[in-house]
Structure formats: structure tokens, C-alpha cells
């Protein structure tokens, strides 16, 4: 009997596909829809201490395989979030709480405020490429900052901590090791790339209101595969591969590079809410063809020999 069940940080997942933060993670209703469409787990849209309006529209568009966004961490702030996510049990699959801050204390404050919400893990993105004060633009992705923020968060919660890194980091394995050393339980390898820019040639203006934005979509898959491959041998904690996964083939490939979990976000744009069911079925079809019974036989095989 072929199974793609996955045990990730103590969460029993029906499959390793996890809704990535920032897409459809705005409410219990939207995440329930994703869970009903086959996701193994879901991640909420990141929450900050204070309310954030984010950038003006256009905040998202696509050119073929390239999807761009500069949403700017719009969220209602931790007090409102506490109400919005009070009944996450209704979602029916494990829920990861994504928390952002401009400094280590902010991450801690949000985690403490949301401590009664029944999250199954906490994700800390240090990798957004298009929001001043946060992530890459605030230098949160350096080995030193990663260590400092992870350490502070480690003290604030007993839940598993996932640190979300950027493919942009020049010293990726060092950053991943810093997170592990500071007490992280997993690495989410991959945020959007760039930032990039596209200009409307008739008006001469950048299309995104924030001018620059993160790049996602099938076009970035090869970079995510390489990043997962690179950090797999340097850390012992598990990896979620996020960035470009759209098909069962992408999913298998990411696992062969060393990912235990698979983040899916922009895939929804390309294939609909049921992209999770579609990918899961494609994974099973491939495993059947190749005679694999479980994911254990696939994870990290690209490193063998």
C-alpha cells in the first residue's frame, strides 16, 4: 500500500504538502478551504505586533512562469489575530503560526500574545525580500541575526520552531547552522526570490506599487532544489522546501534534494485550490510506477553515492 503520510515535527500529516505563509492564510475560513482541498498542514499569513496595511495595489501579478508580489505583510496585528484564529481547530489539519517582527523582542511579544492559540508549530520568516524593517531588507537573514532571533524565540515557546530562510543568503549553510545551533527544530528553505521589478512600457512605471517584489512560481524551482540540496548535509534538523513546487514531479524532486516537508503557495494560482490533491495524486502515481511504498525511500536520494 503506497502512502505519502508524513511525520513532521510531531505533526501527523496526511501528506507532506504545507500551505506556505502569505497565500490564503488570512482567516480560519480560507485555511479550512485549503485543508479541505488536501493540504497536509497550513501556515497562517504572518502576524506582527501592530496592525500593518501593507503596500498598495498592484501587489501581485504574473508573467507566465514568474509570479511577483509585494504585499508588504498586511495583517491585523496580534490582538485582532488572536480573535481571528481562536477556533483554528475547525481547520482540521495542523496549523503553523507565522510570526514576524522588526527586532527579536517583537517576535517574542507576538508569540506570547498568541500563546493560547493551538498552533502546532511556530514559523519565523527572516527572509521577506520586499518589506522595509523585516527580513532581508532589515538584515535578519545574516548568520548573527538569525542566531539572535532564533535564540530569543526558543526561550519564548515550547512549540517546534521553523526558521524560514532566503535563497539570497550568500552563506546559506552557515545561516542554516546558526538557526540549528540556536535551537530551531526545522528550516523552511525558501521565501520569494529577488526582489525583482517589471516596468509597464506604455506608462513607464513599475507595475508593483512598491516597485520591487518577491519572485515565486515554477521559474524558481531549480534554485529551491539547489538550496535544499546545499543545506541538507550541513544540518541535522528537517527541511521544508518552499519555492516553485507546482507538480508531483517538483515535489518528488524537492524530496530527493532532502526536503521532508513541501511548501506550496503560488501553486494555487497555477492549478487552483485543489493543487494539493493534484500534487499528492501525482506523487502517488509516480511512486506506484517506480515501486516505492513510502516517502522515506525518496528523501535525500540525490545525495547517495
Amino acid at each position: 500500500m503506497i502512502t505519502i503520510k508524513s511525520d513532521f515535527l510531531g505533526m501527523k500529516l496526511s501528506n507532506p504538502l504545507i500551505l506556505a505563509s502569505g497565500i490564503m492564510g488570512i482567516s480560519v475560513g480560507s485555511m479550512k478551504k485549503i485543508a479541505d482541498n488536501g493540504a497536509g498542514a497550513v501556515t497562517i499569513k504572518s502576524i506582527s505586533k501592530e496592525e500593518r496595511l501593507g503596500h498598495n495595489n498592484p501587489t501581485m501579478f504574473s508573467f507566465g512562469d514568474v509570479f511577483m508580489n509585494a504585499v508588504g505583510y498586511s495583517n491585523p496585528g496580534m490582538i485582532e489575530a488572536k480573535k481571528e484564529f481562536s477556533d483554528i481547530d475547525r481547520i482540521g489539519v495542523p496549523v503553523i503560526g507565522s510570526v514576524i517582527g522588526t527586532k527579536a523582542d517583537d517576535f517574542v511579544a507576538v508569540i506570547e500574545e498568541l500563546k493560547d492559540i493551538k498552533f502546532d508549530a511556530i514559523e519565523i520568516p527572516l527572509s521577506c525580500p520586499h518589506t522595509p524593517g523585516f527580513g532581508v531588507l532589515a538584515g535578519q537573514g545574516t548568520p548573527e541575526a538569525t542566531y539572535r532571533i532564533t535564540k530569543a524565540v526558543r526561550k519564548a515557546t515550547r512549540l517546534p520552531i521553523i526558521i524560514k530562510l532566503s535563497a539570497n543568503a550568500p552563506d546559506l549553510t552557515i545561516v542554516a547552522k546558526a538557526a540549528e545551533k540556536a535551537g530551531a527544530d526545522a528550516i523552511n528553505m525558501g521565501n520569494t526570490h529577488g526582489p525583482g521589478m517589471r516596468i509597464d512600457i506604455d506608462s513607464g512605471k513599475p507595475i508593483l506599487d512598491f516597485k520591487v517584489g518577491g519572485i515565486s512560481g515554477p521559474a524558481i524551482t531549480p534554485v529551491t532544489v539547489r538550496c535544499v540540496y546545499d543545506i541538507y548535509e550541513s544540518i541535522k534538523i528537517p527541511i521544508i522546501g518552499t519555492g516553485g513546487i507546482t507538480t508531483g514531479r517538483d515535489a518528488i524532486e524537492m524530496m530527493m534534494a532532502g526536503a521532508l516537508g513541501l511548501g506550496v503557495g503560488t501553486g494555487i494560482y497555477y492549478r487552483g485550490f485543489d493543487v494539493f490533491k493534484k500534487i499528492a495524486n501525482e506523487m502517488k502515481d509516480w511512486m506506484k510506477k517506480k515501486g516505492h511504498l513510502s516517502l522515506k525511500e525518496i528523501i535525500g536520494v540525490a545525495h547517495e553515492g
Binding site: 497565500i23 490564503m24 492564510g25 488570512i26 482567516s27 475560513g29 480560507s30 479550512k32 478551504k33 499569513k45 498598495n56 495595489n57 498592484p58 501587489t59 501581485m60 501579478f61 504574473s62 508573467f63 507566465g64 512562469d65 504585499v71 517589471r198 509597464d200 512600457i201 506604455d202 506608462s203 512605471k205 507595475i207 506599487d209 503560488t266 494555487i268 494560482y269 497555477y270 487552483g272 485550490f273
Partner: protein, 248 residues
């Protein structure tokens, strides 16, 4: 592979329709547009917002909007040959109307129904507004029923009263299409339920992506941009946020 970026178009014309209500016309580049669907209108360096289409002609489309905030104020002040971007069409529109479909619009909600009002029996269109100076398409649909809250034009009262009369008079009515404030649409749904008529409504929510990714426009468990904005009434009945709550 999909492409979803704003296509730049020169403004052909901007017309004043009523108090604070304008229509901007651009070349029709929409492929297979169904009335009730929407487009994202981009003013470079300003913002991008969702709008229905109020004039659907072979060569051009018109988008009727109410001046409410910074974006619509800017749009109303634009001139012929200025550039705006159009992205879409998006969402699910209304089903095909037959001549015995009733079409009811309140306020600016009339705009996305106007292409349908051209297809139904003339007296089957019901148009309402708070006052005469805010009433849309008085000349375009001369034979429609008009209501104003203050009685300055047409019948004094609400569009729902005309609907009730028409359905009670046992006229041949196949279905009802409606767009307007949610309190009005809620009432229309009740009336249709009582008379056992199929009813479709068009919902408005703050939108960002327009194509079912960001989750900004959620209304209960419905993704308005993608599963709507047009819904059959049975699909919104019991939705705890319909007519109660909308995200900023």
C-alpha cells in the same frame, strides 16, 4: 501558461453619469467577458481596484464608478489619452439572462448589471438610488422602473417593493439578478425565496489579487473574487459574514 499583468490602454473618453458617478471608456480587449465578472483597473503609481463593466460594446468597454476615495477621485480627473491598466476579466459572472429575467440594481450596483438590462424585457429592469441626482442610466433605460429613497424621481421607496409587486402579479419571471448594498440584496433573496424564484446576487469585497490567491476578499468560506462575485442565493444563505462583515 497564465499571464496576469495590467494591459495599458489609453482612455477614450470620461463621461459624467450622475452626481459623483462617472464612466471611463477604453478599447475592448476583454476575451469572452461575461456580465458580472470584473476587471482590475490600475492607475500607474496610484493603486489598482476591482470594477464591473457597465458598457460592453464590440470596440469599447465602459466602467462606471462612484467617486469615493483617492483612487476614484484621481480616475475621475483623468483625461482622454491618459493611460490606465486593465487586468482580467476575473470571477464568475451571471448566467445567461432570458427575456423574463428581472434585473435589479441599487446605487452604483446598477453599473455591472447594465449590459444585462439591455437583454431583458424593458420593464424587467429595476433601478434605485437615494435621490434623483444619484440615479444611474435614467436615459439609457427609459422604460425601466425607477425608485428613489426620497421620491425625487420614479417611485418613492425601495427597489424591493417593485420586485415584490412584480412577483405577486404573477408575471412570467424566470429568475432574478441583483447587485447593490448587501442589506438590499438580503431582502431581494428573502422575497425570491418566498416566491420560489431563482436569485443571483453580486457581492463586493476589498480585493488585492483578483484571482483567488491572497484571501483578502474572503466572505465566510467564500473566496469572492474567484468563486464569485456572482453567487446563487442558496450559496450565501447562512454565510455569517454576508450582510454583516467585510474586511477593510
Amino acid at each position: 501558461m497564465r499571464d496576469d499583468y495590467p494591459r495599458s490602454l489609453e482612455i477614450l473618453e470620461i463621461e459624467k453619469e450622475a452626481k459623483d458617478l462617472f464612466t471611463v471608456f477604453v478599447k475592448n480587449t476583454l476575451d469572452g467577458f461575461v456580465p458580472g465578472q470584473f476587471v482590475m483597473v490600475w492607475i500607474p503609481s496610484v493603486d489598482e481596484k476591482p470594477f464591473g463593466v457597465s458598457y460592453l460594446e464590440k470596440d469599447r468597454i465602459g466602467i462606471t464608478f462612484e467617486v469615493k476615495g483617492k483612487f476614484t477621485k484621481k480616475l475621475a480627473g483623468m483625461k482622454k489619452a491618459d493611460i490606465i491598466g486593465i487586468r482580467g476579466p476575473y470571477g464568475i459572472g451571471f448566467p445567461d439572462p432570458d427575456s423574463s429575467t428581472i434585473v435589479i440594481g441599487g446605487g452604483c450596483g446598477v453599473s455591472s448589471l447594465a449590459p444585462l438590462m439591455e437583454k431583458v424585457k424593458k420593464s424587467n429592469s429595476i433601478i434605485g438610488a437615494r435621490s434623483k441626482d444619484m440615479l444611474l442610466f435614467r436615459n439609457r433605460f427609459e422604460d425601466a422602473h425607477f425608485t428613489t429613497d426620497d421620491g425625487t424621481f420614479g417611485k418613492k421607496g425601495f427597489v424591493t417593493e417593485i420586485l415584490e409587486e412584480k412577483l405577486s402579479a404573477l408575471d412570467k419571471v424566470s429568475q432574478v439578478f441583483c447587485c447593490g448594498p448587501e442589506i438590499m440584496m438580503s431582502r431581494v433573496i428573502e422575497i425570491c425565496k418566498k416566491h420560489r424564484k431563482k436569485c443571483f446576487i453580486s457581492m463586493e469585497r476589498y480585493m488585492k489579487c483578483g484571482f483567488g490567491v491572497c484571501g483578502q476578499c474572503m466572505c465566510g468560506d467564500k473566496v469572492v473574487c474567484n468563486e464569485g462575485p456572482v453567487f446563487e442565493s442558496k450559496d450565501v444563505e447562512g454565510n455569517p459574514e454576508f450582510n454583516h462583515f467585510a474586511k477593510d
